[in-house]
Chain length 215, copies 2
């Protein structure tokens, strides 16, 4: 019975980790409700006692699902993949799974954490150069590791690695990284953005998207 | 036949991500060879063209296993878990798996990346305060999320979360964080360090451990 209740995503339109979860829900065809948490307003709504009771990590996303609350986007995505029907977000073969996790972790552990709000706030005035430096570093690595990403030629099998890529490119553009330096990343990102699951989950189309950023 | 060849771990005695993989091999009873990569000497042996050919991410650990090369420690650990017999490093139940991945990711994405060598080098003189700040931040979160960790009372089931915890506490001590502020973390760490797999994999007992740090 718990699984018949719609999951609730506590997220923020522009949080790349929230976007990852939205893509996974969309690819799996899972309906969910959103309760936006504004990371900026009121000094950060994720810092309230109310939110802390839900997610002690005081970050987004947090997902209420099947009677429990999960956080950390890759843990959430793999839980969705393991418990919901629909296309696999991780391949069945262990080596291929490892490749997908490698690319996902490169982004989720190697690039994104350095642009987390609480890191950027500590860096202060140099946040733009800081972010560019580490995104460029990560994209250089990623560019040599892209063999397993989605291509329009194969079976259109979209993986967790693709789910991590697109929000990271969005972040890169926010920090004015020239993504054109990485033609494979740029091409993949453009191809993925053609897919409905990436469009409906886009930061420009969420309930909490401000009017001036709305697509 | 490929699976009968011993895996080769390219790591560094003090790298917490290398230590994670060593613990996983030890828990699973997998024999492996080590080829040390000195992250400091010669400006960093991970930056050589030879190593880059092995692991374009130019980080440790990298593991040659079953005819392929894997990197990113959590991807490696899950690959080992999925392909080797022995105790499960992730529980079978999807919710419990998600909990283990949440805690693992909190450490592997939320704490450790901010002490990565290439981040610390960019921070420069303030690296000690910087590291303490983010380890404390992470440990405060972790301290409220420890329900799934190993306890001596249950079935002694050690998970990937425990594998992540111990090397992170070791890092915390290197950066002079007062771990005593987090009694549950301290207690768990001490209990885990009593277990052989955590002892044989310890940074003080590796082929590349310098004599003055050797246990």
């Amino acid at each position: 019975m718990a699984t018949q209740t719609k999951p609730i995503l506590h997220g923020y339109f522009r949080s790349s980790c929230s976007w990852r979860v939205r893509i996974a829900f969309a690819l799996k065809g899972v309906e969910y409700d959103q309760l936006p948490v504004n990371l900026i307003k009121d000094g950060g709504q994720q810092l309230t006692e109310e939110y802390k009771a839900l997610n002690p990590m005081q970050q987004v996303p947090a997902v209420e699902i099947d009677g429990t609350t999960l956080s950390q986007s890759l843990a959430v995505i793999q839980y969705i993949d393991e418990t919901r029907p629909g296309p696999r977000l991780l391949p069945a073969d262990p080596k291929a799974r490892a490749q997908v996790r490698m690319i996902s972790d490169l982004i989720a552990s190697g690039i994104q954490p350095l642009q987390n709000l609480y890191v950027i706030q500590k860096i202060g005035a140099e946040k733009m150069q800081w972010s560019q430096h580490f995104i460029d570093r990560g994209f250089q690595e990623l560019h040599s590791e892209n063999t397993l990403f989605y291509t329009a030629d194969d079976e259109h099998r979209i993986s967790m690695a693709d789910i991590c890529l697109v929000p990271q490119v969005y972040n890169a553009e926010r920090f004015k990284v020239d993504v054109g330096k990485y033609p494979t990343i740029k091409r993949l990102n453009e191809a993925l953005l053609e897919i409905e699951a990436f469009q409906v989950s886009h930061p420009s189309r969420q309930p909490d998207t401000p009017d001036d950023l709305r697509a």
